[in-house]
């Protein structure tokens, strides 16, 4: 599903360049649930952003579902993001003046799906994350866990090939985190490919594979025995 070869990325900070990713080789197969672990500054978020086409690499190859991702302009990137990728952010990134339902339906708007169909589909996904009753509430009326579940529904609604989650439990307490991880595991069990960036060991161990990143290189890449989040709830 994802093939990455010799990926480099550096940021210019004035006259200095900060070399963040120093040659990453990394593959993800269909249906995997991968945690990318590392301390802050290890380059894990940068890697996720490049995979998510929110950022571009300086060097290296990135193939998503057989399509080489290079020379992207914003329009093309927007198209790919919309079709292939679903994002889940630490800070939820819901649009605050839109209801839960409208937030979930937004990716479908950019697929030019008619309003009615859009809302039906969004409702279906909200139902899947257990928030059907909350569909007409604004994000400010939802708890952190509920907000993240809305965000997950929004990431799922366009039926992307890969879900990318950046510290999705970072703003949540541990009980809520496990609830959200349970949802992620269930979604993965349905066959969806999911990448989770985290620095929390317990969250990483709820995935099926952990990639350790340190100072811009992969130091360890191992399959782990998945801990079911449900056990903690």
């Amino acid at each position: 599903m994802i093939e990455i070869k010799n990926l480099h990325k550096s940021y210019k900070m004035g006259s200095n360049a900060l070399h963040v990713l120093k040659g990453i080789d990394f593959n993800v197969d269909d249906g995997e649930l991968v945690a990318i672990m590392g301390s802050s500054g290890s380059g894990k978020s940068t890697l996720l952003n490049i995979i998510g086409m929110l950022d571009v690499a300086d060097e290296g190859e990135y193939i998503l579902d057989g399509i080489p991702i290079k020379n992207l302009n914003e329009t093309k990137a927007a198209n790919y993001r919309n079709k292939f990728l679903g994002f889940i952010f630490q800070s939820f990134n819901l649009i605050n003046y839109k209801t839960a339902l409208e937030n979930v339906a937004l990716p479908l708007y950019y697929q030019r799906m008619p309003r009615k169909q859009r809302q039906e589909k969004a409702m279906k996904y909200l139902d899947q994350v257990g928030l059907k009753e909350w569909s007409h509430h604004l994000p400010s009326e939802l708890s952190g866990g509920q907000k993240q579940r809305v965000a997950i529904a929004r990431a799922m609604v366009a039926e992307p090939k890969v879900l990318l989650a950046d510290e999705l439990t970072g703003a949540l307490d541990s009980t809520t985190s496990y609830e959200v991880m349970d949802l992620i595991q269930k979604i993965n069990d349905l066959g969806n490919t999911i990448l989770v960036v985290t620095h929390e060991v317990d969250i990483a161990h709820m995935c099926k594979r952990i990639v350790y990143l340190k100072d811009g290189v992969i130091i360890k890449d191992e399959k782990v025995k998945q801990v079911k989040a449900l056990a903690h709830v």
Binding site: N49, L54, N93, Y97, Y110, R115, A158
Partner: protein
């Protein structure tokens, strides 16, 4: 533009950001409102001044003799100039092709006017029959003086409507009544209507009668001409000035007056006066335009500022939308669409309010030199479109910048 989904998205945004929308709209609506009101009053002043000048024939040229102010060819200054019939006749003959109506005028002095036992204190003037058209006398009843009255030195008189109202209350109509002017009976043949009240307190008699009966000899006190109408105003002014200068030169020669003596023979042209007023109005209108355009610019700056803040405030939202698959152009389109929609709605609101106010209040304004302030609808419409366009351009740049910011940077915006 006709994308219904986009419209729904914009209505959603507007509905949920009412204050922002209202503030943006207010600066647009007030800009248009001020401009239209200013332009309306500019037009009102022009109408008012045009109206003031319409009351008399605007091509009128009058000659007023006075006292010489400088010596000339051995004659002392301080000499009173007296116009005579032959001056009038010669001047009229000389410039016959340039004249439309003509009339000499004499003020009949030192006479007593009585109606029955009542003494009247109205000015009596001897004029020619053309005077009706020179002074725009509209007849209320009866007729004005005619050629026959003049050649037969008829003892007939025309009175103003105010005199009728004040003196002839007990008779049905003053026409046919007699008034006594210094022992001579004059039959009233007409009552005229004037625009200005003071002009209605006058009695007109034929000039020939005035000269013959009241020792006028062949003296006249004033000569009035009107020039034939010309389509083009500027051309008319040029013609009037040329006529005026010729007439003065002729009269100065006849009366041995220095060519640069301005007080001895004064020739006054209404058109020249009018031109002065019109150029003043032109300047005032220009000033109003200037202020109006400044108002619009202030409106545009206001809209741009708000757009800038709106875009800044929405940076994160733009990032989210882009992460979800919005293309840069759809972001720009969304912001512009919203901006244009709001400016249009509020622009027209301002337009409707201001035009409504002008329509409602305009006709009731009774001030000298301001008449029926109104604004050319096309001009007003154009300004609205200019504002919309300016708002769109002002909104475009921040929108474009926001849309081209890296998604990840936009998402990090707090």
């Amino acid at each position: 533009m006709f994308d219904i989904e986009r419209w729904q998205e914009i209505f959603d945004t507007i509905r949920k950001n009412k204050l922002r929308t209202f503030l943006t709209g207010l600066s647009v609506a007030s800009g248009i409102f001020m401009l239209v009101i200013l332009l309306g009053f500019g037009q009102g002043m022009q109408n008012g001044i045009a109206h003031e000048f319409e009351q008399d024939a605007t091509t009128i040229v009058e000659v007023w003799p006075g006292i010489t102010s400088k010596g000339y060819r051995g004659l002392n200054p301080g000499r009173r100039i007296q116009l005579r019939n032959e001056n009038y006749e010669t001047a009229t003959a000389l410039y016959a092709d340039k004249i439309e109506y003509k009339s000499p005028l004499i003020f009949v002095r030192n006479v007593s006017v009585n109606y029955g036992k009542e003494a009247l204190v109205y000015g009596v003037r001897g004029v020619s029959y053309d005077y009706q058209f020179i002074d725009n006398q509209k007849m209320h009843e009866g007729r004005f003086l005619n050629y026959q009255d003049e050649v037969s030195t008829g003892k007939v008189a025309i009175i103003g409507k105010k005199i009728k109202q004040d003196v002839f209350k007990e008779v049905n109509t003053p026409v046919g009544e007699f008034i006594n002017i210094s022992g001579v009976l004059f039959k009233i043949v007409g009552v005229f209507d004037e625009n200005e009240e003071r002009e209605e307190e006058r009695i007109y008699i034929p000039i020939t009668t005035a000269q013959k009966v009241f020792n006028g000899a062949n003296n006249i006190d004033n000569i009035s001409y009107t020039l034939p109408p010309v389509e083009n105003f500027d051309q008319a002014v040029v013609q009037a000035i040329a006529f005026k200068d010729n007439l003065r030169t002729y009269l100065q020669q006849v009366h041995t007056v220095a060519p640069d003596d301005t007080s001895a023979i004064q020739v006054w042209s209404a058109l020249e006066e009018a031109k002065r007023y019109f150029s003043l109005v032109g300047n005032i209108k220009f000033f109003f335009w200037f202020v109006g355009i400044c108002t619009i610019i202030a409106g545009v700056v206001g809209v741009s500022n708000i757009m800038l803040i709106v875009v800044k405030e929405r940076t994160r939202e733009i990032g989210i939308r882009k992460a979800l698959g919005a293309k840069p152009w759809s972001i720009v389109g969304m912001i512009l669409h919203e901006a244009i929609f709001i400016t249009t709605i509020f622009g027209f609101t301002g337009l409707i309010f201001s035009m409504g106010l002008l329509e409602l209040v305009g006709p009731n304004i009774e001030v000298d030199y301001v008449l029926n302030p109104s604004v050319n609808f096309n001009v007003a419409l154009t300004t609205v479109f200019v504002l919309i366009l300016a708002g769109a351009i002002a909104g475009f740049f921040p929108a474009w910048r926001a849309a081209s910011v890296h998604t990840i940077t936009a998402l990090r915006d707090e």
